[in-house]
Amino acid sequence: MKKWFADFIKKLVEAAANWIEKCIPVYDPGIWNNNASIMLTNNCYNYGCDIQTNTFAQPGRAHGIIVTRSDLINCEKVHSAALADGLKDVDCDKGCGCEKCQHQVALVVSPSWDYHWYRKDRDGKWSHKMGNTPATNLDNSGNVITDPRTANRGSYTIFCGCFCVDKSMVTIS
């Protein structure tokens, strides 16, 4: 193969890799923690989607769906609410691939109590933000989260599944 052609292919691959990488959020908790107003008004769903609305965003609310505690006996309502917002189901092990600019999130439920979201960051680890508290990459045992399915999640015992977030296609409020 000619050298110029090999260099061209290499640069093309690097450019594609950079483009994909830029679509996946970096674990940078300061963006969420350093400003009190941002920290207090953005929750796990905002953090998961990597979209600051400053409204404690609720799955489905932007599309007229209201999720309440009584809906959380299982994943069904909050799952369909997230789909209405534009999130897409994905196999957790397959991930979101490289066709579109998107990142991966995971949904868990504490039965009849609450829901919670995790986000997969560029380093391949997961992080999350519990309500109005600071974002962190640690689980309830103090371990870095390598897989939300096996992380210590306290009472959030139901693992609902993974989703892809294409920020240009997702609307939350």
Binding site: N34, M39, Q58, H116, M130, N132, R153
Partner: protein, 129 residues
């Protein structure tokens, strides 16, 4: 705070995803709160509380309007949990004080009176006898 009547708002950190319950302090309770805060801040500094875990109570977040905070000489933003009062006026440099005035118990009492007893009990927050 947009509503001038909302001079002090308390958010109960119970949920991660769902909206958290809130209480608006009455004028009388703002003054009680302010007295307790002034008896706490500057007395006994402590390390910050251990980080909260998913599903635990995240504490009481108290936001006082700029004017009222200035008038009463108290922080406009504070978090109270696990016997520690965190003055979060300078957000990145919170100052932690032992809750000598039992502000936390005062807020738990108000939350119970406002109908949040069941929610608080579920995250292990009980009113002292």
């Amino acid at each position: 705070m947009e509503d001038s009547k909302e001079m002090a708002k308390v958010t109960l950190g119970i949920f991660s995803g769902l909206p958290n319950p809130e209480m608006i302090l009455t004028e009388e309770n703002i003054i009680k709160y302010a007295e307790m805060v002034k008896s706490t801040v500057g007395k006994e500094d402590v390390y910050g509380p251990t980080p909260t875990k998913l599903g635990e109570f995240y504490g009481f977040m108290v936001i006082v309007s700029d004017d009222k905070a200035k008038e009463l000489g108290i922080p406009k933003l504070a978090n109270i949990i696990k016997g520690v009062f965190a003055d979060m006026t300078i957000h990145n440099e919170p100052k932690y004080w032992r809750d000598l005035s039992r502000i936390e118990q005062f807020l738990i009492g108000l939350a119970y009176e406002n109908g949040f007893a069941d929610l608080l009990k579920k995250v292990g927050v009980k009113r002292s006898e």
